[in-house]
């Protein structure tokens, strides 16, 4: 029997298009106020379809392309295993059931919008989501130890990105374009040709 920590056994993958569709549906339905943290938790830590490094790299692609990052990410992951049909299955999983649900919610929204308990519950879940997404960043910072750039530099760039985005409120586009490009050039010079 292969031991639990055998790296060969660590790599898993979606079994079928239906597996992709339902996995992404379940992920999407857990994402109150953002699905990204759930994707990282489920696909990297539980299902192990991706390593933390792969997750960060695919997220970089998903982020610099137009469109919602988590939708792009699901598409990229689906395409990685099953090509175009995989991309479509993952995308449909991410959008179809949540779309029906949100329209159902819109229909009843008027009845509960002013309820103090409901408003409070949504506020509490939003605060948990905020913590979730920040924690995802902190966890992925761990994968910078295996980055071509020295750890101090990688972490320094991450901290500068936080300062630019949170403190100066610079648009994400500038930070990705400026700091991201600089970091790519530095990485390029460290990689073996």
């Amino acid at each position: 029997m292969i031991p639990e920590d055998n790296p060969l056994d660590n790599r898993r993958r979606p079994q079928s298009l239906a597996d992709l569709f339902f996995s992404f549906t379940i992920l999407a339905l857990q994402g109150f106020g953002g699905v990204l943290a759930v994707v990282q938790r489920e696909l990297v830590e539980r299902k192990r379809w991706l390593t933390p490094e792969e997750f960060t790299e695919e997220l970089a692609v998903a982020q610099v392309m137009p469109g919602p990052n988590v939708v792009n990410l699901s598409l990229v992951i689906g395409a990685r295993y099953f090509g175009m049909p995989g991309a479509a299955a993952a995308l449909a999983g991410m959008l179809a059931v949540p779309l029906l649900l949100i329209i159902a919610l819109a229909l009843v929204h008027a009845h509960f919008a002013d309820h103090a308990g409901v408003a409070g519950a949504l506020r509490g879940m939003a605060a948990v989501s905020a913590g979730m997404i920040a924690a995802t960043g902190v966890k992925l910072a761990g994968s910078l130890t295996r980055h071509p750039l020295p750890l101090a530099l990688g972490l320094g760039v991450a901290v500068v990105a936080v300062l630019l985005l949170v403190w100066l409120r610079l648009p994400l586009l500038y930070v990705l374009g400026g700091l991201g490009t600089l970091c790519c050039v530095l990485t390029y010079r460290r990689l073996q040709p």
Binding site: F32, P66, A121, A134
Partner: protein, 191 residues
């Protein structure tokens, strides 16, 4: 709101606008809300300002990707036009418009990057972006927390966000337990 009238050319116009917005939506569809507001609320009066804001708030609160606020706006535009058929058409037009260009581009880019994954430039791009992506995730969390708790009076929300972050970082507790705990604390007005 009084019933509005959308002709076929209006629907086409709406679709065309969303196709363009999709191409501009780096950082998510939410980054194009100013333009959507201009089109739907100010220019055509297809939505009231209240309906516009409600769509964004509801999509943030509901499970699923936040981009579904686009579907809600399409739904409301259709309802304002007077029928559930129009509402379904509204969802189809806005969601297809906002998704088609960006997903096509992302698919092509990811396939190209995957085929050329051994290239030095491709490796440098994917790995080089990692530190910035890490910073972006942390920033998103902080900004989301600031939006729901702008002043120090809201410190219990900050404490909850921080506690949730630490639990997720250090343990493997299922996320739904944390969301449930947040919902219960909020329901009883404890945060």
């Amino acid at each position: 709101m009084s019933t509005i009238v959308l002709t076929w050319s209006d629907w086409l116009n709406l679709f065309g606008h969303y196709l363009l917005l999709s191409l501009m939506s780096v950082g998510g569809a939410i980054s194009t809300t100013a333009e959507m507001h201009r089109l739907l609320v100010e220019q055509h009066h297809w939505l009231t300002p209240q309906q516009f804001n409600d769509a964004i708030a509801l999509a943030q609160a509901a499970p699923g990707p936040n981009v579904l606020f686009v579907a809600l706006m399409g739904w409301k535009v259709g309802l304002n036009a007077g029928s559930y058929t129009a509402a379904v058409l509204g969802v189809a037009v806005t969601m297809t418009g906002i998704m088609l260009p960006s997903t096509t581009l992302t698919y092509m880019a990811s396939q190209w990057l995957h085929r050329n994954r051994e290239m030095r430039g491709v490796r440098a791009f994917k790995q080089g972006m990692s530190p910035v992506v890490v910073g972006m995730l942390v920033s998103t969390g902080i900004i989301l927390a600031t939006t729901s708790a702008p002043t120090l009076d809201h410190w219990p929300l900050w404490a909850l966000a921080l506690a949730a972050g630490i639990v997720i970082w250090r343990t493997r507790l299922h996320l739904l337990w944390l969301l449930g705990a947040g919902a219960v604390l909020g329901w009883f007005q404890l945060v």
